[in-house]
Symmetry: C2
Subunit: 254 residues, 2 copies
DNA sequence: CGGTAAGTTGAAAAATCTCAATCACGGTGG
DNA sequence: CCACCGTGATTGAGATTTTTCAACTTACCG
């Protein structure tokens, strides 16, 4: 029995980088409740739609933006999947997050008017372009927008602290378990199965995010499979024992 | 020759928790350029001072706020030194940051109207209380304030990504070197020596921040001392070879 | 159908942790 | 004033986890 892909079919759009001047309709977007418009009334939404006037397609493997580039806009993922990574001068490279539909990219750029990380599409994707200066203007007018924008930034900070906890305190199995639970929870919030999924990232990218080598990630997947927690076949995943995964994250070290 | 403490004398204020209704004077505060008022003109500063009307003393070891408490205000450190830590349901505990004069505490609380971490004073400290709803009101009026607030949040995100890089990619020596360089750089920005300092936190707290056990931190300090990079005597530190520390952070893994 | 990138597995090496003993220092009370 | 106590720091030795290096398999793309 084939595992249902939350992202299948791979949504092969024509791989152009041209901005699509299509009118965005936040009001009818099914990401409304996950994205920037949370809490906005119908009349305010019309304003937001004026702001978010442009879309952009990003084919798999391409950059949405690069470290060092001038920061102009935030991006809301419409479809697809991204990773963000920071790198130091030497070759070090760290995946700082994976973003799916409804999530915002580029918040790090506000600090210095330049992006501080790379954003790369892990599958053919499209984003809504949110010019930042216009967002600031509009959020002075609409308290609700101002407030939800602040909440989104704050949520990113909270998320980052959770990752620090993971990187600082957990061992390999716990890290991978926490990662998978987070992933399935976000997929579920978007209407996908909580147990069947297709990983859009390589073992190396997972490892980079979790502070592990790719071999360790692979071994840990194998161990989870042996223990009957899940079925793993390359990037196809089926979670068999959610509770056991949860227990791994909670009960260790005690 | 005694090492000059950037924080000495320990500024023993009377250890009350009572809000001090003293008028704050951002305009004459020597943290002006590090704190929220960056970029504000004299006339706007007057407004900000209306906002930041209260101070609060936090004796060493006391909490400024706790995980789960209702979020009402941000806090700007005036004097002293704080740590923030997140903990999971089980006993796990992770220090997510150390804050010194001019730095903001509580940004994580915006996301859900509740604090997501504990803030603990590591020495007798005092903070300016910034009621959050008033900050939102005021930042709709003053574009400059709005913009610098966004920058501060974004900077926190960038900082967190840097910590992820550290936790995910670096070994013990590199982590400690990066930590010390960051610390001295921030002290220097506040007019203290870049080479002599007194650590306000225990080895365990450093270890928690860096994802290491306290023994590993201690051993690494000893190794740095043997290698002539610094003098370490309990919490008294004197950096002897800044460049070598920097090289440790940059040149490894290549 | 072949080449390449990604994934798996094993064995040995390295880093870090754990446990345990000891030392240093600041504060307290006799 | 000094001995004592408790917390924090140091150091050693052995255990554990993760990495490294290498060989091999699998899947996908043209």
């Amino acid at each position: 029995m084939p595992i249902t892909s939350p992202f299948a079919p791979p949504a092969r759009t024509c791989p152009d980088m041209l901005p699509e001047p299509l009118k965005v309709a936040c009001a009818s977007c099914n990401l409304r409740e996950l994205c920037l418009p949370v809490g906005l009334h119908a009349r305010d939404l019309a304003q937001l739609e004026g702001l978010v006037a442009k879309r952009r397609s990003v084919p798999r493997g391409e950059h949405l933006f690069r470290n060092g580039e001038r920061f102009e806009a935030l991006y809301a993922v419409r479809t697809g999947f991204f990773k963000t990574c920071v790198g130091s001068e030497d070759g070090r490279d760290q995946v700082t997050g994976f973003q799916m539909a409804g999530e915002l990219l580029g918040l790090d750029g506000i600090s210095s008017d330049h992006h501080h990380c790379d954003a790369v599409a892990l599958e053919d994707s499209s984003v809504c372009v949110i010019p930042y200066d216009q967002l600031e203007d509009l959020s002075r007018e609409f308290t609700v927008l101002q407030h939800s924008f602040h909440k989104i930034m704050s949520r990113e900070i909270v998320r980052d602290h959770g990752v620090m906890l993971l990187l600082g305190n957990m061992r390999a199995e716990e890290r991978l378990a926490a990662f998978l639970l987070n992933l399935t929870q976000r997929l579920q919030a978007r209407g996908f199965s909580a147990s069947s999924l297709v990983l859009r990232m390589t073992r190396e990218e997972i490892g980079s995010y979790l502070g592990l080598k790719l071999e360790t990630v692979s071994r840990t997947f194998s161990k989870f499979q042996e223990d009957g927690l899940m079925e793993v076949k390359q990037r196809q995943l089926r979670i068999l024992d959610h509770e056991a995964l949860q227990a791994l994250v909670n009960d260790s070290h005690c």
